[in-house]
């Protein structure tokens, strides 16, 4: 058992349902008790879906518990088949019902006989997989199912398109800014002269899946959804995959250059260098911002980064490499991706933290005393408590992560949006600090740290008075550095002289 107040990753069935409901005309049957069906509420309320969520619960109640659910599950499948005419019905249990260890595969087989739709059991271990792993697996499973079905029926499309083409893999519902990212990627591909062959799973028909192999390559921008599918397509058809997340000016250029390599190998005569240069220097404002005076003042400021693997790694690189900001530590809750994450952020931060314990993350933030936090909604609240400005860069999703205005994280417009996020985090923080210094807000309180052991050292009155003159937002740092300096030198009382000496020696 684990005492848990907050989770970064949802349970597995949420991942499966995100993939199933992203497809068009796919219905999911959830084998679960009343109340486990809140996915429908999330989709309707968070992403303001206009349509009913195509998920029906085959209710597990006391009755089912005592007599088994076979008839009920099969009935529900065939009923939905008749009512909604879906192309595919995906059956999934939840953590709860998976314990019953009913032979769901057998129910699916039985229902298949009667239903016009294809019927599939999501093949996920609900105690070992989290949301992301389940989503990745479910997408791969559905793709494999339709590839194999087409192969059997002989209508698989493997011949490459005449012009360069791409499958964009990993766009899904209830994911972080995915809808806007997708628009931006389509625009980018258009500008590169690449036809979008398919986007999966969001908005795709399962019938399109048999044509996936005709694309020249796959683009999988997210670590959390897509890699299993692109691996499968690579193994089956030798399809190359671009798995560089085009987030930030540098990585977007690297992604485009990788695409160029693939297209060139495929016989296309493309050179994207001028495009990259024009976008970087004149279309996107991010490179210019990095060089501008506004950004100069961010140089060397301390930040911490935490989120899913994709976003935390990308933002860490942008902060360090494109803006000269000092990332004290970067972390992710995507524990299975530890190796990948460490490699990505190596050299871009002082320390890497792999953990999904929100308490630990909160403590580490408090101890690091960064000037800004880039994290999830939870870190935003930690930041509120500690009075440190926070930009939200990652799921778990929240209604605020479904902005109505266009806010992609990927591509060149994404670079602009990310700059705004970073800049506003620091400067709105700065504004509060200035208000404190200039006394604009009479009600403003000094900043107190949530977690910070009181000192064993004495401060004499003059030194205390001097410390109080230090603006609140650096006072903690000055205090700690001065105390460390004094402790190292065996001094027990801090005087003005000690303060100045500490500043001269270590910049306290």
């Amino acid at each position: 058992m684990k005492l848990a107040y907050w989770m970064y990753a949802a349970p597995a069935h949420i991942g499966t349902l995100r993939v199933a409901t992203s497809f068009k005309n796919v219905h999911a049957i959830m084998h679960a008790p009343i109340g486990d069906d809140y996915f429908n509420v999330m989709r309707s309320m968070l992403s303001r879906e206009r349509d009913f969520t195509p998920v029906t619960t085959s209710v597990v109640d006391r009755h089912v518990l005592s007599r088994g659910s076979q008839e009920k599950v099969v009935d529900n499948i065939t009923r939905k088949d008749a009512e909604e005419h879906p192309d595919l019905i995906v059956l999934t249990p939840t953590c709860t019902s998976s314990i019953l260890q009913e032979d769901l595969a057998n129910f699916v087989q039985r229902a298949s006989l009667e239903a016009k739709a294809d019927v599939l059991l999501a093949d996920v271990n609900h105690y070992r997989f989290n949301e992301m792993q389940a989503a990745d697996r479910t997408l791969q499973q559905i793709v494999q199912f339709y590839i194999e079905k087409a192969r059997k029926k002989g209508n698989l499309v493997t011949e490459k398109t005449a012009q360069p083409s791409v499958n964009i893999i990993g766009i899904s519902t209830l994911a972080f800014h995915n809808n806007h990212d997708c628009t931006e990627l389509k625009k980018l591909m258009g500008e590169l002269g690449i036809t979008v062959n398919a986007i999966i799973p969001e908005g795709a028909n399962v019938d399109e899946l048999r044509s996936l192999p005709q694309a020249w390559f796959n683009l999988a921008p997210y670590r959390e959804l897509g890699p299993m599918t692109t691996d499968y397509l690579a193994a089956e058809f030798g399809m190359p995959c671009v798995d560089i997340t085009p987030m930030g000016v540098v990585e977007t250029a690297r992604c485009i250059r990788k695409i160029q390599t693939i297209l060139t190998a495929g016989g296309a005569d493309v050179n994207y260098e001028d495009f990259i240069n024009e976008q970087t220097i004149h279309v996107s404002q991010a490179a210019w911002f990095s060089r501008s005076i506004d950004c100069q003042n961010l140089t060397g400021k301390k930040a911490v980064v935490y989120g899913d693997a994709t976003h935390a790694a990308a933002i860490t690189k942008i902060l360090t490499r494109e803006m000269g900001i000092h990332v004290v530590w970067a972390g992710t809750f995507c524990k299975p991706d530890e190796e990948w994450f460490r490699k990505e952020v190596e050299g871009y931060c002082d320390e890497v933290i792999i953990s999904d314990d929100h308490g630990l993350i909160g403590d580490r933030i408090a101890n690091s005393e960064p000037s800004a936090i880039f994290g999830t909604q939870m870190e935003r609240h930690v930041g509120k408590r500690l009075n440190i400005p926070t930009g939200v860069i990652s799921a778990p999703i929240h209604v605020q992560n479904f902005p109505i205005g266009y806010k992609p994280f990927l591509g060149y417009e994404g670079t602009n949006q990310v700059v705004d996020l970073i800049y506003n985090s620091f400067t709105l923080g700065m504004e509060d600090h200035l208000l404190e210094i200039f006394g604009g807000h009479d009600t403003k309180e000094v900043i107190t740290k949530g977690i910070s052991a009181d000192s064993d050292l004495g401060w004499n009155k003059e030194a205390q008075a001097e410390l109080n003159k230090v603006p609140g937002f650096v006072r903690g740092k000055v205090k700690r550095n001065t105390e460390k300096f004094a402790r190292d030198r065996g001094q027990t009382t801090i005087t003005l002289e000690v303060m100045y000496a500490a500043k001269e020696a270590v910049g306290a």
């Binding site: 058992m1 848990a4 109340g35 968070l46 303001r48 619960t57 939840t94 105690y127 609240h381 778990p396």
Partner: protein
């Protein structure tokens, strides 16, 4: 829709039970706030935890007084010892928070793996020295608000059996009367006690926000009736005394199990009344309690009339309009009865579970109201089937659908006006005073859509074959 049909009898039906509602563990969100010295530990899976985190509207910002005991693979496969695991977590909670009570909320999973919470609790309680109350708020047996029922039923067993003898102790225990007499001198209190008529002790049950508790307590005081205590109280250490023969009355329609426990296990006498929702319900509730105590109610006519007068601006917005309850929080019958009294027509009352005995007085009042308002008797649809309900909604075109969160946006996109049922669960809606709040909520979507009407944005989905 104008219906001129003669009222018949209430029609009870039951469908497939394929409907959306919240998990009963939701109740921790309001109960932990209500009982200020409590800690709620929900023993379940990641699925339960993610629900609490997402569905409650507020995320778990800091560390509230509830948490998950998240079951991991080792727990499910019984490789770990339940007692040891729970002890470890509860010790941590004791150390961090030192609550007066830890409430274990069992879930579907603890049911399925047959974790013996009721067996483990007394042993750990003795070892830890903190009361542990166990409630099986699982989705296999219960829906949404019934979670409160399971907790209150469990807590009923913890109410003291005898009133303490010393006056001081009594003062301490009876927090409500203290509040009422706050700041008065001893003599005044005695005088004030004489304002009450002589009647057997009365305890009310149901979790309400403090201002509503005060309000209802005052309403009864006006009739000379003294409320001896509330279940739950603001603090676990202030649970009301329940002696055999005490009278009890519920304020919420979803507390049938608590009512049964109070009658069977604590030998209390249940006052079966309509629920104090809306001016009509509140009046009926007070009248029924008065009648049990042989008290002639004073001024209720004027009081009710005055309330109706005060909310007329709202009532005229809904008079003659139709409403459809898809069924969610078990407040549906009381709400429907009140809205019919306001002049609405109710097309269907979906409800997850219908205890006809516990709700008997409310059902009777509903029937009476329909007759008096010349409104058709609605069908009460227990365990509804949402898919079928949608077909009926498309056909009947209600002016307002009161529904769970999963359906509100899609219905609005199809030009059908909705109100979330969940909001009523959290609103202060009991008593005379709060009638306005119910109507503020009920009329909001109507007022809003009235506002938008001229913009011609009725249908916000592309043409589709409505099947």
């Amino acid at each position: 829709m104008t219906v001129a049909a003669e009222p018949q009898a209430l029609n009870f039906e039951c469908e497939t039970g394929n409907y959306h509602t919240f998990c009963p563990i939701s109740c921790v969100a309001w109960l932990y706030q209500k009982i200020e010295d409590s800690f709620f530990l929900v023993i379940g899976t990641k699925t339960c935890g993610y629900f609490l985190q997402n569905a409650m509207g507020v995320m778990i910002f800091a560390e509230p007084r509830y948490a998950m005991a998240e079951l991991e693979e080792g727990d499910i496969s019984a490789q770990l010892n339940d007692y040891e695991e729970l002890r470890r977590l509860c010790e941590q909670i004791k150390k961090d928070r030192n609550p007066s009570v830890i409430v274990w909320i069992g879930t579907c999973t603890t049911e399925i793996i047959k974790m013996d919470l009721e067996g483990l609790a007394p042993r750990l309680e003795a070892e830890l020295g903190i009361p542990i109350v166990t409630a099986r708020a699982n989705g296999l047996d219960y829906a949404f608000t019934q979670g409160e029922d399971t907790v209150l039923a469990a807590m009923a067993a913890r109410c003291p059996e005898k009133a303490p003898v010393a006056q001081e102790e009594k003062d301490e225990r009876n927090a409500i009367s203290k509040l009422m007499n706050f700041g008065r001198k001893k003599e005044d209190v005695t005088v004030s006690d004489s304002e009450y008529k002589d009647h057997p002790p009365l305890v009310l049950f149901g979790s309400l926000p403090d201002p509503v508790v005060t309000n209802l307590t005052l309403e009864l005081k006006k009739q000379g009736i003294k409320v001896s205590g509330w279940l739950p109280a603001k603090r676990f250490t202030e649970l009301p005394v329940l002696e055999e023969g005490y009278y009890v009355a519920g304020v919420n329609p979803f507390l049938s199990r608590t009512a049964t426990t109070l009658m069977r296990r604590r030998k209390c006498k249940l006052i079966g009344a309509p629920f104090p929702i809306g001016p009509d319900g509140t009046r009926a509730w007070i009248e029924k309690i008065c009648s049990v105590f042989n008290i002639e109610p004073q001024g209720l006519d004027e009081r009710e009339a005055q309330i109706w007068e005060g909310v007329e601006e709202y009532v005229k917005l809904i008079r003659g309009k139709s409403v459809f309850f898809m069924g969610d929080n078990l407040l549906e019958v009381s709400m429907a009865r009140f809205l019919i009294r306001c002049g609405m027509t109710v097309q269907e009352i979906g409800i997850p579970y219908m205890d006809k005995r516990y709700q008997a007085a409310e059902l009777a009042l509903l029937e009476k109201t329909c007759r008096e308002m010349n409104s058709p008797m609605p069908t009460i649809m227990e365990k509804p089937d949402n898919y079928n309900q949608l077909q009926r909604i498309y056909a009947q075109k209600p002016d307002l659908v009161i529904t769970g969160m999963a359906h509100a946006n899609p219905l609005e996109a199809r030009g059908i006006t909705t109100k979330w049922s969940v909001e009523f669960t959290f609103a202060q809606m009991h008593g005379f005073t709060n009638s306005r709040d119910i109507l503020e909520l009920v009329t909001r979507p109507l007022r809003r859509n009235e506002n938008l009407k001229d913009l011609g944005w009725e249908k916000l989905v592309r043409d589709e074959a409505i099947v």
